[in-house]
Symmetry: C2
Subunit: 110 residues, 2 copies
């Protein structure tokens, strides 16, 4: 069917999945990397950084924005994109939680 049964899972599970899915493409990882690298939140030269057409980059930016991972401010002609800390700290604490959990029960199996 290709349609995800989101309503059968918890909010938390859907939230994490949505965020992870948004990061689940190398172009979008590259965008995040770039936004981290440039110290001010540089605008649309992301297109020049990536080996993709402008339309494709715009689409990827939209997905990152929809997932809440980045924010965009209109700045005159261009747009200023930057990382949304809240979303990333959500992911960070999720994986930290898992890692801590794993340390406690090391080598019980597999």
């Amino acid at each position: 069917m290709g349609i995800t049964k989101t309503d059968h899972f918890t909010n938390k599970q859907n939230q994490i999945a949505t965020l992870a899915k948004a990061i689940g493409h190398p172009a979008r990882v590259a965008i995040i990397d770039y936004l981290l690298k440039v110290d001010s939140c540089i605008c649309g030269d992301i297109v020049n950084e990536l080996p993709l057409a402008q339309a494709t980059v715009s689409q990827h930016l939209k997905e990152l924005k929809n997932a809440g991972l980045i924010k965009g401010n209109i700045e005159g002609n261009a747009i200023c994109y930057c990382i949304d800390e809240k979303a990333l700290s959500k992911l960070q604490s999720y994986f930290e939680h898992i890692s801590k959990h794993l340390i406690n029960k090391k080598s019980k199996c597999c």
Copy 2:
């Protein structure tokens, strides 16, 4: 086209994307949650936990396995799945790295 241009991105970027993509579905988040919850790495009653058909669960497990997030050991009749710490620590350190980076340059924009 629907085909990802992986060869234009770095190994690291592709690696993170692959791992994140595997987590990018609520059923797979639920599987990870379950593997964390049950203390021993319980086998195939994951199917009973999820609101999905057995074949679908098997498919999700396969994807998690392909991405390296879980391991599976044959145990007589059943299979013993459990989380692969290495993959998760990779993700954890990635997001930790980002979070640290963000603290340093707080509120420069947006």
